[in-house]
């Protein structure tokens, strides 16, 4: 479980807080989507959960973040990292090895995973992400989307209990993005891994995330079950967060028919709503 209490963080040499009075609880096995306009503090939030703040990025830090009972300020970055896996937004900086297989090996070696377990972990992670064929390839010869998958595989191989992903589908086409989300859903449901994902693709968040947190200018402006948050579509749009078309549809239908319709989050729900109305 992750508990963030009144967290305010100001990066060194900056005046404006990147995060302000953040209060957020993510239950074990939760699937939280984080959305918000550019510069809202989403990446900073990811860094605070993964311990990079305050261990790598320093600055003025108020409040507390506890991960499974450990206060991230008092726990070493290494101990947090055993629990929390982080996929960076900029994959090219995250990948430090020149060959795919070595990138997966890196964390496994450092955290002292038993030798006999390592080959199986690598095979499994590559297979899950669907890049078993890239194992021997030089990272420089891969496309942006392939690199993104390598970065994800290298973290999954570590089997973290909590996965923090910062826009992991930026370089991927819609179909591959959906595959990544399906994989996260599988890990979340089968192994109860807590997932925190920062994402601009609202359509995917609506389908997969159980909770949503909306950030704007360093503050959480809305949080809760995805459907409840989406019920405030107009407020979100004013902040620069768009809603999926199906949500706009349920709103338009409510207005036009004069009957309040439940918020639709995906195609199936929208289809069911329309069929119910016209039958």
């Amino acid at each position: 479980m992750i508990e963030i209490q009144d967290l305010t963080f100001i990066y060194k040499d900056e005046k404006k807080p990147a995060l302000q009075d953040i209060r957020l609880t993510i239950p074990e096995g939760g699937f939280l989507g984080v959305i918000g306009p550019a510069g809202a503090g989403k990446t900073t939030l990811a860094r605070a959960v993964s311990g990079m703040i305050p261990h790598h990025y320093t600055g003025d830090y108020y409040g507390s973040v506890t991960v499974n009972g450990m206060d991230t300020v008092e726990t070493s970055l290494e101990d947090i990292s055993r629990l929390v896996g982080m996929v960076f937004q900029d994959v090219d900086s995250q990948i430090i090895s020149p060959v795919v297989e070595d990138e997966l090996l890196y964390g496994l070696e450092n955290f002292g995973i038993p030798r006999e377990e390592i080959p199986q972990r690598i095979d499994e992670a590559l297979q899950k992400v669907g890049i078993a064929d890239l194992r021997e390839r030089a990272v420089g010869s891969l496309s942006g989307g392939q690199r993104q998958k390598v970065a994800i595989a290298s973290i999954i191989a570590l089997r973290p209990r909590i996965l923090v992903l910062d826009e992991p589908t930026g370089e991927l086409d819609p179909r591959s993005s959906r595959q990544v989300f399906s994989l996260l859903k599988e890990l979340n449901e089968e192994q109860r891994i807590t997932v925190i994902i920062i994402e601009q693709k609202i359509m995917l968040l609506c389908e997969f995330a159980r909770q949503l947190a909306v950030l704007s200018e360093g503050k959480i402006v809305r949080q809760g079950d995805t459907r409840d948050v989406l019920a405030h579509a107009e407020e979100l749009e004013a902040l620069g967060v768009n809603c999926p078309r199906v949500t706009t549809l349920s709103r338009a239908v409510s207005v036009k028919t004069g009957e309040e319709q439940p918020v639709c989050l995906n195609l199936d729900e929208a289809e069911a709503m329309v069929r119910r109305l016209i039958s």
């Binding site: 918000g36 306009p37 550019a38 706009t248 338009a252 195609l267």
Partner: protein, 275 residues
């Protein structure tokens, strides 16, 4: 006018290639190129601007084969907005950046005229001109890049995933500006884009690619309604189109939340009359 005549391109090692692609784009069109990662979309737009040369076939712009002139000479006519604005921006202020682009291709018009044009563009985009590009957000930097390309007033604008990594507002800013160029100045737009909602909202014609081949070419809405084609090209159609295709009769023309809602209303009234 842009004309691709049986164009093929193969990279020396791996990488997506383009295989025997032919199409023609008239002046003032707004065309989107769709397809999965590795379908050959980016390769195609790079071929159009001559950043790479076809291994077979030819590319013509306004009737002239692109191999007869250099890419830099073409910059006056063809603007290219890349996915990553940081590769383009090289000056310390937004004003210098825009001026640099102008001086490079319109240097013959004299300093005075270029400065005036620069101020006009700054005002149009709402920049003061003194901003440091690298202290701006990614979306703002993309707007700087777009401003410096539009300042030159190209006839053709090529966009390679221009909205990747941008939030919703930033995306709308960029795309609305491009639409205005297309409608008011009749600038031809060719865009590679992964966001099908953006394609539906802005583009009029779509080219569908897969494995380096051109699979289909037609009006955006018709293309999206072809479920078999979408499947073959690994494209997920925009939500409202998928929905109306699923719903069938009575929703043939619905492609936005508004029009679907209207269709619902019409069917309900119609249903009431029957009952």
């Amino acid at each position: 006018m842009i004309n691709l005549d049986h164009v093929s391109f193969a990279y020396p090692e791996q990488g997506p290639s383009v295989n025997d692609v032919s199409f023609r784009v008239e002046d003032g069109e707004f065309v989107a190129i769709l397809g999965a990662n590795g379908a050959g979309k980016t390769t195609t737009v790079r071929l159009i601007d001559g950043l790479i040369r076809p291994t077979a076939g030819k590319v013509e712009i306004n009737g002239t084969d692109t191999v007869t002139s250099s890419v830099s000479e073409r910059a006056r006519k063809v603007g290219f907005l890349f996915q990553n604005p940081d590769r383009q921006i090289c000056k310390n202020t937004v004003r210098e950046e825009i001026l640099f682009g102008l001086q490079t291709v319109r240097g013959d018009e004299g300093e005075e005229a270029l400065r005036a044009r620069c101020e006009e563009v700054l005002k149009d985009f709402g920049f003061s001109g003194d901003e440091e590009p690298f202290s701006l957000s990614r979306g703002q930097r993309q707007r700087v890049a777009l401003a410096s390309i539009l300042a030159v007033e190209p006839e053709i604008l090529i966009l390679d995933e221009p909205t990747t990594g941008l939030d919703y507002f930033e995306c709308c800013h960029i795309m609305d500006r491009i639409r205005r160029m297309n409608e008011e100045n009749r600038v031809t737009v060719i865009m590679v884009c992964h966001d099908m909602e953006v394609v539906l909202d802005y583009a009029k014609r779509a080219l569908v690619m897969a494995g380096g081949h051109l699979l289909a070419d037609g009006p955006v809405k018709e293309i999206f309604r072809d479920a078999a084609l979408m499947e073959k090209a690994s494209i997920l159609a925009p939500q409202m189109i998928s929905l109306s295709t699923r719903l069938g009769e009575g929703f043939e023309d619905a492609d936005s939340p508004e029009s679907v809602a209207d269709a619902v209303l019409a069917l309900r009234k119609g249903g009431a009359r029957h009952a």
